[in-house]
Symmetry: C2
Subunit: 195 residues, 2 copies
C-alpha cells in the first residue's frame, strides 16, 4: 500500500469519516500548504502527550487540574456527572451551571466489559465525600446505557443526604412533534411540569 | 488558545469538516490510542515530502513517474485530460480506459487568476506532440469551468489530426467527478461524443 492509500485508510478510522471523505481530505492535504500539514500532523501526533485527564474530575486538560476544578468561582457543593469530556463544553456553553463536574468517560456496558470499576465509581464516591456534595445532577445521555448508568449511581448513593436529579429529556427546543420519536414524546409527557 | 481548541480549528479547515465534526474528531483522537495518533500525525506532516507530481502527467506519485506513465500496458496514443489527480483513481476504478492521462490540477478561472499558463497547457501540448496522440478525451467536470476548459483545449488543437472527444452522458450536469458512481463514469466514457 502506498503513502496516499495508507493515509486514506488512517483518516477513515476517524469518527464520521468514510472512505470518500477520507480520500477528499487526503487529496486536499496534498494540494494544500505543507506548513499547515506539518502543524496539523504534529498536533495530532503530540496530542496525548500534552493533554491528560484532570486528576479531580477527569476533564481533559494541559495542567494538573482543569480550569473548572482550579477555579475559585464554582459552587463546590454541586456536582454534575457526564459521560464525556466534551459534554462539559456543551453544558458550559449554556452558562447555566456553576458547579463542578465528574466525567465517567463512558457508560455502564456489561457486554463490553465496562462495569462500575472501569468507570471509576469509587473515585466518584471519594469526590462526593471530599467535597461534601449536597446536590448531584446526573447528566448522562438519555439512552438505554445512559439511563442505566444514572440509575446505578442513584442506588449507590441511597441513604446519603444528597439531592439527586436527572436532566430532563423530551422534545428538543425548536423541534416539531410531528417528527419526534415516540420515546421522546413519551418522556416529554411523563416529565411535564406545572405551567 | 489551548492545544485542544487549536487542533479543532486546524481540523475544521479540512474539506467537509465543520466545527462540530472537528470537535468530534479531536475528542476521538484524545480517547483513542496514542500509537494511531503518532502514525496519522506523521503521515500528514510528511505527506508532501513523500508525494509529488509525476513529471509526465501530473498525477501524484512517490516515484519519478506514476504507475500509469511507467506502465508498458497503456495505449500511448490516447490521452485523457482530467482536472484533479483523484479523477484518475475514479476512472481507473471502472477499468474502461487503457490510455494515458494528463492532470490539469484545476480549471480555467480568470477571476481567480488561473489561465492557460497556470494550468500548464504548454506542457499538455508538448505531451501530445511527444506521444503522437491520436485521440484526446476531455474529462474535465461537466461544470461551467470544466466545459470552458475543455472548449479551450479543443480550440488549441484545431488543425491537428487528433480525434477529440468530451465525456458526456452519465454524469449529472453541475456534479463533480470525485463523487460520481462507477457506472456514471463508465457511461460517460463509453458515450463520449465528437467535440
Amino acid at each position: 500500500m502506498n503513502t496516499l492509500e495508507n493515509l486514506i485508510v488512517l483518516l477513515s478510522r476517524l469518527p464520521g469519516i468514510g472512505k470518500k471523505s477520507a480520500s477528499r481530505m487526503a487529496y486536499s492535504l496534498l494540494k494544500g500548504e505543507e506548513s499547515y500539514n506539518r502543524v496539523l500532523g504534529q498536533s495530532i501526533a503530540e496530542l496525548k502527550e500534552k493533554i491528560h485527564k484532570c486528576s479531580q474530575c477527569g476533564n481533559y486538560t494541559e495542567e494538573e487540574l482543569c480550569s473548572i476544578c482550579s477555579s475559585k468561582d464554582r459552587d463546590e457543593l454541586t456536582l454534575c456527572v457526564v459521560e464525556e469530556s466534551q459534554d462539559i463544553m456543551m453544558i458550559e456553553s449554556t452558562g447555566d451551571y456553576k458547579g463542578l463536574y465528574f466525567v465517567l468517560h463512558g457508560v455502564l456496558s456489561p457486554l463490553d466489559g465496562i462495569g462500575p470499576t472501569e468507570l471509576g465509581f469509587d473515585r466518584l464516591l471519594d469526590r462526593i465525600n471530599t467535597l461534601g456534595v449536597k446536590e448531584l445532577i446526573l447528566a448522562t445521555n438519555p439512552t438505554l446505557e445512559g439511563d442505566s448508568t444514572a440509575l446505578y449511581i442513584k442506588h449507590l448513593l441511597e441513604g446519603k443526604e444528597i439531592e439527586i436529579s436527572r436532566i430532563a429529556s423530551g422534545l428538543p427546543v425548536g423541534g416539531d412533534m410531528e417528527y419526534a420519536d415516540k420515546m421522546s414524546i413519551s418522556r416529554a409527557l411523563k416529565g411535564r411540569m406545572n405551567y
